[in-house]
């Protein structure tokens, strides 16, 4: 699991870690029953306070995304259905950021919708990560 944190992101670090796990599920790089890095290993590689990672894992457990198995570690929950829950949730988060960016530039939702269709229509070439089924 590769996570990049950004202090410029503006969202708390634990939220960024939660979204990285969700994004892994949506992309398929994380699957049900997969182990997540230990709190110690992830905090060490991200150079963050271990409590930040613990908080992210605890919130993800509350959301039913992961399971903490005592003495064994943290795993992606067996029943997790990324298409039904994580995908729309992540999309809303991306939408929120896009809207905030638009608002900062003085753009309205309508401007953004038009531009999204235009860019998607003309700018999808060469992008190998086109989403399947859409």
């Amino acid at each position: 699991m590769k996570i990049r944190l950004s202090q410029a992101d503006g969202r708390p670090l634990y939220v960024q870690i939660m979204d990285a796990v969700r994004s892994g599920l949506v992309r398929g790089s994380l699957r049900p029953e997969d182990p997540l890095p230990s709190v110690r290993d992830l905090s060490s590689s991200l150079r963050v306070n271990p409590r930040t990672v613990s908080q992210a894992y605890a919130e993800l457990e509350r959301d039913g995304v992961v399971q903490v198995r005592h003495g064994k570690g943290t795993f992606v929950a067996p029943g997790v259905r990324p298409e039904e829950k994580e995908r729309p949730r992540l999309a809303r988060e991306v939408a929120r950021r896009a809207l905030a960016d638009a608002s900062r530039n003085g753009l309205a939702l309508a401007d953004l919708m038009v531009a999204l269709r235009e860019v998607e229509g003309g700018g999808a070439r060469g992008d190998g990560r086109k989403e399947d089924g859409r």
Binding site: G10, R40, S43, S44, S45, L46, R47, S103, R104
Partner: protein, 313 residues
Amino acid sequence: MTDMVTAALPIDLGSGPFAVTTQGLVRRFGSVRALDGLDLQVPEGAVYVLVGPNGAGKSTLIRTLMGLVRYEAGTVNVLGRNPADLGAEVRAGIGYVPEDYRAGYPWMTVGRLLEHQAVYHPSWDAEYARRLRARYEIDPGRRCHTLSKGQSRRVQLVLALAHRPPLLLLDEPTDGLDHVVRDETLSILSEHLADSTTTVVISTHRVYEVEPLVDHVGVLAAGRLLGQLPRHELHGSLLRYWADVPEGWRGPKELGGRVVQRSGAARAIEWTVWGDRDAVTRGLSQAGAAVREVAPLSVDEAAVALLSGKEAS
């Protein structure tokens, strides 16, 4: 065009439990008050960063907590004791990286220095010390006076961490380290926090480096705290608002927050405000401003905003 407004953030962290407190701490150098009635509160288990300009009193404060300097007024409590009375006893429970980077005695080898320290601290973890020494590529045969600043800093970090003390006082811990070793040190500190029960106080000018490790922030200027609060509260309530405003806009009478810093051009403002995000946004909007963006400040940016506000007063 920028004008500043003095404002202090909260400095009371409540009832504890605290690993370290001072109350009304005063330390004078001649007629200068290096510490001017300081009320420090470091919660147990916190990673507390002290930020502030040169001469703000950060090192003096840390040395006072170590019982290395006397003070004229106030009280100091470190791990339940007063370091002025029980200096050696208090120091044994502290891992200390001093501002001064000279480690040990000049003629002593690093290996001998580590053994010396192991005897002094009953809780010395020899295996951990060996691993840290290997990660930092420290040669135990070197004599202390031949160490570069960076090598010496690494030795000091091993000395501070290897007895897994309940309290770490780190005065500019990454000073003199190159990029790679600095990064390695942050990783070592993350692991140390995962493996040990400890409270950490870090004084640094490179706040951005340690910011992801830190959960409490104290901003110090002229021997006083301008703010002392959990980092998430700082990020949640000290926010920068960018807004478009009509020509000649005066701002709301009641904002629902306290302006720390104002700047901006004729029709676009950039205000830094301590207060509830929704209330402040509403206040600005009702006064005719179109709020374009609201964003938290990094600890660095927050310190700059507070300190420039202070200097203008």
